[in-house]
């Protein structure tokens, strides 16, 4: 895991923090077939959690219907200068996480 799979931006403005995250992942739904007509096994992110100041703000559970290079954005009240941690876990048990500070 030499390369980070997550890019995250968190910005605080007018009392609200907007978090935007991009996770590079194949997000294979399990419904697609390859050229030989065989189904490509499912490989997608199942869960993304985001903690701010050690407290979980959002837990997202995903199916195979989320697009490739998964994008997630949400907003929370407050959070200026706090630490943010974003973690994903896929259906094959792989995971990655990233930490960043919320910019004020």
């Amino acid at each position: 895991m030499a390369k980070k799979s997550i890019r995250v931006r968190a910005k605080f403005k007018d009392g609200v923090t907007t978090v935007r995250a991009l996770m590079s992942h194949p997000m294979e739904s399990g419904n697609r077939k390859n050229k030989a007509g065989k189904k490509i096994p499912a490989n997608f992110i199942q869960e993304v959690t985001c903690d701010v100041a050690g407290k979980t703000v959002i837990t997202s559970l995903w199916g195979g219907g989320v697009a490739k290079s998964a994008y997630l954005s949400f907003k929370l009240n407050g959070g200026k200068g706090e630490k943010l941690k974003l973690t994903w876990v896929d259906n094959q048990g792989k995971s990655d996480s990233v930490e960043t500070a919320i910019k004020g």
């Binding site: 980070k4 869960e47 701010v52 559970l61 195979g64 989320v66 997630l72 954005s73 990655d96």
Partner: protein
Amino acid sequence: MKRRIFLKGSMAVSALGVALGAGLLTPTAVLAAWPDKAFHAKKMSDALNALLGSDAVEESADITIDVPEIAENGNEVPVKVISTIAGIESISIFAEKNPSPLVATFNLADNAQGFVSTRIRMGGTANVVGVVKAGGKLYSAKKEVKVTVGGCGG
């Protein structure tokens, strides 16, 4: 200098990977919460029952579904769900005609706002439905997206 920081960062990540692989952290407990049944349901009502325990949904004007009218590529349809309902517990996104209608569900803490945005796959022209759970009740809104090329394979 930057390179050094990068290396340190990637080492920390791989250390985490090892810890996860060895089961030192608890992603398995987390994974157990993934509602397998809801995500594999073929019908929207089944998915609603499995995920939220009910398919009694009330239409609400306080939910905005922000989607393109026409999506040229069903592989990447941007969806925003915005709601002003108080006390939101979760927001779920459904694409009515997908093989598995439930696309994603977001559990929100008290300090999160009623806003989520992501990109989804759509098998064809269908309604995108946003279901908001607040105060134990379900509210929904929907909007049709015309899809030129479907993105669910087959």
